[in-house]
């Protein structure tokens, strides 16, 4: 029931993920962060099995950091996305990672971008994307209301519409969502949407 979706606006890209960590029928945690800061201007939102999600995201994060240390300049979003895809593809026929990824980034020359990378190492540069059950409920909503160059407020309104739709139509909808944004100022947390106060205090 993991929901991850995102879209590109005017000068920014926003990604949204649910924050439930679930095992079978039990919810172990309602404030698990599935969107990781890859570097100062990149976000990686991953959905998939617990071990793969964290381990693969951290592996990409460390390799992106290594590139920066070695070469003195950070990777572009496109390069990071292609690297991620290549790692998924290399592992695919031996020891595949069951992770779906939305990679959002901001580059000084090319502006904001969003990449859709699924567990079979498919790579697409997109304006809007969704994984999991969220895709059924929010893609058509995004297709209707999206237009190029949306302002931040318009984008947040659209995200809220999608979250409302997920909450009302998905049989086991996750209670809480986190929104993270990346723009010229960097990658940061934008907002939470909580219908259930987190089971743990926010120092986690």
């Amino acid at each position: 029931m993991e929901c991850v979706f995102g879209l590109v606006g005017k000068g920014f890209a926003i990604v949204v993920a649910d924050t439930s960590a679930v095992h079978g029928i039990l919810v172990h945690k309602t404030n698990e962060e599935k969107i990781m800061k890859l570097d100062s201007h990149k976000l990686i939102a991953a959905s998939g099995e617990g071990g793969d999600r964290v381990q693969f995201s951290e592996y990409i994060h460390k390799n992106v950091a290594l590139y920066q240390f070695r070469n003195g300049i950070p990777l572009t979003t496109s390069a990071a996305a292609n690297f991620t895809r290549a790692e998924l593809a290399a592992a695919l026929r031996k020891n595949p990672y069951a992770v779906n990824i939305l990679l959002a980034g901001y580059d000084n020359h090319t502006g904001p971008s969003l990449y859709y990378i699924d567990y079979l190492a498919t790579l697409h540069k997109v304006d809007k994307a969704a994984f999991g059950y969220a895709s059924y409920l929010s893609l058509s909503m995004m297709d209707t209301h999206y237009h190029a160059g949306m302002s931040l407020q318009e984008a947040i309104d659209l995200v809220d519409k999608c979250i409302t739709e997920i909450r009302s139509r998905l049989v086991v909808a996750p209670p809480n969502f986190v929104m993270k944004i990346v723009d010229q100022h960097g990658a940061r947390e934008c907002a939470w949407r909580q219908s259930l106060p987190s089971a743990s205090p926010t120092f986690c």
Binding site: A21, H23, I25, L26, H28, K29, E32, E49, G50, G51, D52, V54, Q55, N95, A199, S200, P201, C204
Partner: protein, 274 residues
Amino acid sequence: MKLDTSGLESFSTLTAPGDDVVGEFSAPPSFQLPNSNDFDGFVKEAIQMVKPAKGTTTLAFIFKDGVIVAADSRASMGGYIYVTSQSVKKIIEINPYMLGTMAGGAADCQFWHRNLGIKCRLHELANKRRISVTGASKLLANILYSYRGMGLSVGTMIAGWDETGPSLYYVDSEGGRLKGTRFSVGSGSPYAYGVLDNGYRYDLSVEEAVELGRRAIYHATFRDGASGGVVSVYHVGPEGWKKWTGDDVGDLHYQYYPVVPSTVEQEMVEATGA
């Protein structure tokens, strides 16, 4: 991960030709495969067979004075409850300030916790400071992740008190690792969650917290057939862990629900001769 296959290297160059005793070592390394048409299916079945259903109840939670860790002590062998032991130690003392809980395969949990204890001690010796709970849980999670798909069954919580205060992590054999303040693992965990979530407050006293842990495990053992035996409750404070209680759940039942003699409404009387 590159496997170290040096152990499989042939010794043929070291032996004299025609030497009968070590003649068999010159054969290329090989091992027998089972005779089956569907090898993949056979492997899947084998892994499923050794994957017990995590018949247990363990829980842990953080509160203002540290971490409470509680568990039952029943070991069963799947199917209809064939209880093999009522006195299994499911709370493993990794070192004097860190505890691990056991759910899943007993051997897997015991071995890997012991292994983790060794790695933590090595870290202390190499770095002249104690390892953090974050670090210890990450060590264990990485090890378990590298064995994923091979049939390990471990659902454990690492609880401890380090320089940053009390910490609690849930680590399982699929490689998942979660930081949190309240977890319960095992077949009885939904029952334990009910009592735990209801009675939890961050500002519990140590006595109240120990009682909450004990009560939650008791209720889980009442409803879940794969949990039972003795409830152990540990408290991890700034000085390290301390074992608080070890009560038999049978005794606890009558303590919480003492037998009240029911009032008799109508006494049977001898029928007078008709």
